[in-house]
Subunit: 268 residues, 2 copies
């Protein structure tokens, strides 16, 4: 069952962490390592990470009139059923003593894991996601910088910092196929991708901003903003899949480096 | 030699024209028809129009504190060497009596044809464009809504209202190949397109806005804003071509329906 939860961390040092995405990623693996070094190594080696991480802007209240408060909010999602419970256990245990983001010590002040606590938290079973209402399109808001990395011949990677409808759908479907126990057959998935390439169209965007973002060791061009994608296909199978992907986006994020803070996506 | 010039039209009726792009298109063909019905028919039948048209927002001065002034500014570019002089002749001749935009009569108040008169006017010989300074990228501002129309199998057309770097370069190169007497060989053009697909990357955008626009008989999704595209290729041939396309964009515009007001593009 995919989970999304927020960790409110506080520090006596009011300076914000310098490389929040990178530090959060490091913290995540440090915690996993304390829990089970074998699991940490397996997750680290996985070609697609079974979690996403994002460091959110502190709320205006926490910022106290523009002043840094030493508060950091980490959003974590888990896509692997065996990850959530042990991870939360080690977080609660270690959080009392202190969690390090880079060289800053933080304490875990609060865990928010329900939509009542925050619209960015929640959980759905795979079955619930797989039976999400069918839709003729996608309505997504990209909350942290989002970018698509495309491999080209000659080991070149090109970045697309634009909400290309096909790349959005492909990213979500590929993640679903990798992480979900209710994945489609390879033939179905391939047919859907072909259809997405023909029949998806961007019909609106708003607040589209370019933002360079640091993730892992590099800088990436990215975009934030809201988009609305329409699918011209009348196939109910396609509309069912789009409904799944729309709901799943909340947990999986979109595009590259979602384990380093990029691509936090909220359906609307 | 491609020309870009502005027609300042005034009307005693302060209401702005309802379908400016469509009406401007109609006016253009009415003028061509008065000049030479055979030429009008040939231009109308051409698969790619040898001109672009855009209706600009009246300047704040002309708008007199937000009030409609009855002033309309038409920007016209010509891409066919035989079109500019006769077109200007018939404009000056007919402009005294009156030009119709839809059912509004307008008078031609002023023609601005030099960069001193407006940054949107000017002319370059094909030779000047072909020897534009080489560049590693494109820096373009899309002033009117811009959209790419892509044909898909089954006679479907899909619209891309995003500044996709490959689609920008392809649109400009295809126009250059069609209109310029200094076109590249088909082999060269095909090689360049392959390379553009691999090596162009959007590295910045600003002021990107979604705007639905009316052009001809339909509504189109489109974008306005400024973009910066980088080309990773070290080939001087590629950089020379990008320099040409950057300069040529001022006259050709980018994307679909440039003869109806879309895709007005200014290098920066």
């Amino acid at each position: 069952m995919p989970y999304a939860f927020l960790l409110h961390l506080t520090s006596s040092d009011p300076r914000p962490p310098r490389y929040p995405g990178l530090y959060a990623h490091g913290l995540f693996f440090a915690l996993l390592g304390k829990l089970d070094p074998g699991l940490a190594a397996a997750v680290h080696a996985a070609p697609r990470k079974p979690f996403t991480l994002a460091v959110l802007e502190p709320t205006p209240r926490a910022r106290r009139g523009g002043e840094a408060s030493g508060e950091v909010v980490l959003r974590v999602t888990t896509l692997d059923d065996d990850l959530f419970a042990p991870l939360l256990g080690v977080l609660l245990r270690e959080g009392v003593a202190g969690l390090a983001l880079g060289d800053h010590p933080y304490r875990l002040a609060r865990v928010v894991a329900t939509p009542q606590g925050s619209p960015l938290a929640g959980r759905h079973t795979w079955e619930e996601l797989a039976t999400a209402p069918p839709t003729r399109g996608l309505r997504l808001r990209f909350r942290t910088p989002t970018v698509f990395a495309t491999s080209k011949p000659g080991r070149r990677t090109r970045h697309t910092p634009l909400p290309d409808p096909f790349l959005i759908a492909k990213s979500l479907l590929t993640s679903w196929q990798y992480h979900s126990p209710l994945r489609l057959s390879d033939t179905e998935a391939a047919a859907l991708l072909t259809l997405f390439e023909l029949d998806l169209e961007l019909i609106r965007f708003a607040d589209l901003r370019f933002e360079r973002a640091q993730a892992a060791k590099g800088f990436f061009p990215g975009f934030t903003g809201a988009v609305e994608v329409h699918c011209h296909s009348d196939s109910l199978e396609v509309q069912r899949t789009l409904g799944i992907l729309q709901a799943y986006a909340f947990y999986a994020g979109v595009g590259a480096k979602t384990a380093y803070g990029l691509g936090l996506t909220v359906p609307y």
